[in-house]
């Protein structure tokens, strides 16, 4: 188990990690979602030991890690750019850790060969052992980087945007393989990414990193359906976030007024932010919004066809942008006219209000 307790890291005036605390369980796939600049790479570098924290502690299986040199931490790190040794062959890259590590290097040539062959088989690189790493494809380099780390048998593997350098269909295949490999080895993967789909797809547990600390951590499905803050909702890239004020237990803001579910623990007039899922909104011509629900008038801007669904953009009077997803498996969505007014209808029960951090 890896646990970080109020870890702080500053670069000059910039605070990259702000009293961050998180616990990563054993034998789990944890994905860490964060926008660029949210401190996610810094967090991995602090855990791996390439940077030391300015405050707080890092412990792994009860052993204090901060202050320990990176080559003595026993944590695997898969770099975004793979960082393979360009002068070595695939097999020599994979063997590097076993051969040259300071603690307990493998000196027996037969054992070395067997362990390298095993892990090369595990990641599916057979036949490429003698190739130079400059003479193989991006996906194969990714596998070498992974094999090179896994062969040293770390209990915890940090992956820094491991799929970022791969093209789309390769990325999907690697996703499945990463999960399968992890399950077979029973180690913990901490996978950092800026893509919400990748984070939700890969992680048994998903943590959202925002402004240098963990905004929410939980199972992927519950995190997606119940974000605890507007920040988390924004990161998931599946929610419209509107801000306004509480009026008589309901919402009043840019989109008009509508009731809010449940009892709000705040007085009238307090600021509130609400999140509304892209796919929980239906669009009707102005004045024809579904009766009984809430509806917001907005002007249509543009649509994006993404294959299985259509993403439409609408603008409220105050300039706020709303997105609506219509899945093409349902009834065919009508096409909309630019700058025309439409009613965006939804069930008020689907609205998630946030009162804490709204200001």
């Amino acid at each position: 188990m890896l646990s970080l307790s109020s870890v702080t890291k500053r670069y000059g005036d910039v605070t990259a990690l702000d009293r961050l605390s998180v616990t990563v369980p054993d034998d789990a796939y944890v994905s860490l979602l964060g926008a660029s600049g949210s401190g996610k790479t810094t967090l991995l570098r602090v855990i791996a030991g390439f940077e030391e924290p300015d405050g707080g502690t890092v412990t792994h299986d009860g052993r204090r890690l901060d202050g320990v040199a990176p080559h003595r931490r026993g944590i695997g790190f898969v770099f975004q750019n793979f960082a393979l040794f360009p002068h070595l062959s695939v097999a020599d890259n994979v063997a590097f850790g076993l051969r040259y590590r300071e603690d307990n290097p493998v000196r027996d040539a037969a054992e070395l060969k067997k362990r390298v062959a095993d892990v090369i088989h595990l990641v599916g690189l057979e036949g490429l052992e003698t190739r130079k790493v400059t003479a193989i494809s991006g996906g194969q380099r990714q596998r070498v980087a992974l094999a090179r780390t896994l062969v040293t048998e770390p209990r915890l593997v940090l992956l820094d945007e491991p799929l970022g350098a791969l093209d789309a269909n390769l990325r999907e295949r690697m996703c499945d393989e990463l999960r399968a490999i992890r399950e077979r080895l029973k180690v913990t993967f901490l996978h950092v990414t800026g893509s919400e789909t990748e984070a939700l797809l890969m992680g048994d547990t998903v943590a959202v990193l925002s402004a240098g600390s963990i905004a929410q951590i939980g199972p992927a499905s519950s995190l997606f359906s119940a974000p605890r803050s507007a920040d988390v909702a924004r990161h998931l890239n599946a929610y419209n976030v509107l801000s306004g004020r509480v009026r008589k237990g309901g919402f009043e803001g840019a989109g008009g007024r509508f009731p809010l579910p449940g009892e709000l623990p705040v007085r009238d007039g307090a600021p509130v932010e609400i999140a509304l899922r892209f796919d929980r909104i239906s669009v009707a011509p102005a004045g024809k919004g579904a009766a009984g629900g809430a509806s917001i008038p907005a002007r249509f801007i543009a649509s994006e066809f993404t294959g299985a669904s259509v993403l439409s953009f609408f603008r409220l009077d105050d300039g706020t942008l709303l997105q609506v997803v219509a899945h093409l498996s349902g009834p065919a969505p009508r096409s909309f006219t630019k700058d025309e007014l439409y009613d965006l209808s939804f069930n008020p029960q689907d609205v998630i209000p946030f009162t804490e951090r709204a200001a």
Partner: protein
């Protein structure tokens, strides 16, 4: 069947509007060949006129007949026999090789750590360039001034002797500091070190910092990382630096003449003095031997690493 198809293709080609049966690909290839030829011809012409022909001439002259003041184009091996049987000249050939070896080693031992600092520790490009420029500052003064400046440093009443005597380490001034082989080694190392630092720094600064971090993450300590990652990746720089230093040190004569008080005679010094006394044939022999040594050294260095593949 295949042949018939090929025949049809060929007969169809002119009908497709290609002039003289030349395909666009062929025309492009010819154009590129013409451009390449135009780019290299000035250099080839220059080198042929002013390097290849003179070198052939030197080899030719080394077989001419030398009398006291003239040299006749009658072929003889006299000069070669004289050089190869004289212990003085063979000794100075050995001195040249020995001094080359020591200077090469000392520039590497002093230059590599400097390059490590500039290339790996300093990650700011502007600062890197500034530091390299500082290394070049000695070249802003003339060669003569630089060499003469060593005299007040190394002389019997020079700075080093004064400091050592003040510190009580020695009682009488060391006379071997100046006008000795030691002085020549110090002077050459100082002057040529920068040619070692430059190429190594260039190679080191191209190493991704994450590669070194990856090696650490895999459990390797500093020594292993240096010998298994940093050194192999910077080896092309070491070789290029070694070639620079070798070519310059092997052809040296001025530093040896002015810092050794003519005690150290390199092949370069022999050529200078023989030319001075109009012994053209003999100077040519020394020149051919020196060129051969340099060629062997460079070939050997290039064997160590395949530069074409690494750069």
């Amino acid at each position: 069947m295949m042949e018939i198809a090929g025949e049809q293709m060929r007969s169809a080609a002119p009908a497709m509007g290609e002039d003289n049966g030349v395909s666009p690909a062929e025309r492009r290839e010819r154009q590129e060949r013409r451009t390449a030829l135009m780019l290299i011809s000035p250099g080839v012409l220059w080198m042929t006129l002013f390097m290849v022909l003179p070198m052939i001439m030197v080899v030719y002259v080394s077989f001419w007949t030398q009398t006291t003041f003239t040299v006749e184009p009658e072929l003889t091996t006299d000069s070669w026999v004289r050089f190869l049987t004289s212990s003085t000249y063979l000794a100075s050939t050995w001195t040249t090789v020995r001094i080359w070896g020591i200077v090469l080693l000392s520039t590497l031992l002093i230059g590599y750590p400097v390059a490590l600092f500039i290339g790996l520790m300093v990650r700011n490009q502007t600062l890197q360039t500034a530091l390299l420029v500082i290394c070049v500052i000695p070249f802003w003064t003339s060669f003569l001034i630089r060499v003469i400046a060593w005299r007040p440093m190394l002389g019997t009443e020079g700075a080093i002797n004064m400091i050592l005597m003040k510190l009580g380490i020695i009682d009488t001034p060391l006379t071997s500091l100046l006008f000795s082989e030691f002085a020549v080694l110090i002077g050459m190392t100082q002057i040529y070190c920068v040619f070692m630092v430059g190429p190594i720094t260039f190679m080191l600064s191209r190493i991704e910092p994450s590669i070194i971090e990856a090696a650490r993450d895999l459990g390797a300590g500093f020594g292993r990382i240096f010998f298994k990652v940093i050194l192999p990746l910077s080896l092309p720089g070491v070789i290029v630096g070694a070639i620079f230093v070798s070519v310059m040190v092997l052809g040296e004569f001025a530093t040896a003449a002015s810092l050794s008080g003519r005690k150290v005679n390199l092949l370069g010094n022999i050529i200078v003095s023989q030319v001075g006394s109009l012994k053209w044939a003999f100077a040519s022999v020394a020149g051919v031997i020196l060129t051969a040594i340099i060629a062997v050294v460079i070939t050997a260095l290039l064997r160590v690493v395949n530069l074409r593949k690494e750069m």
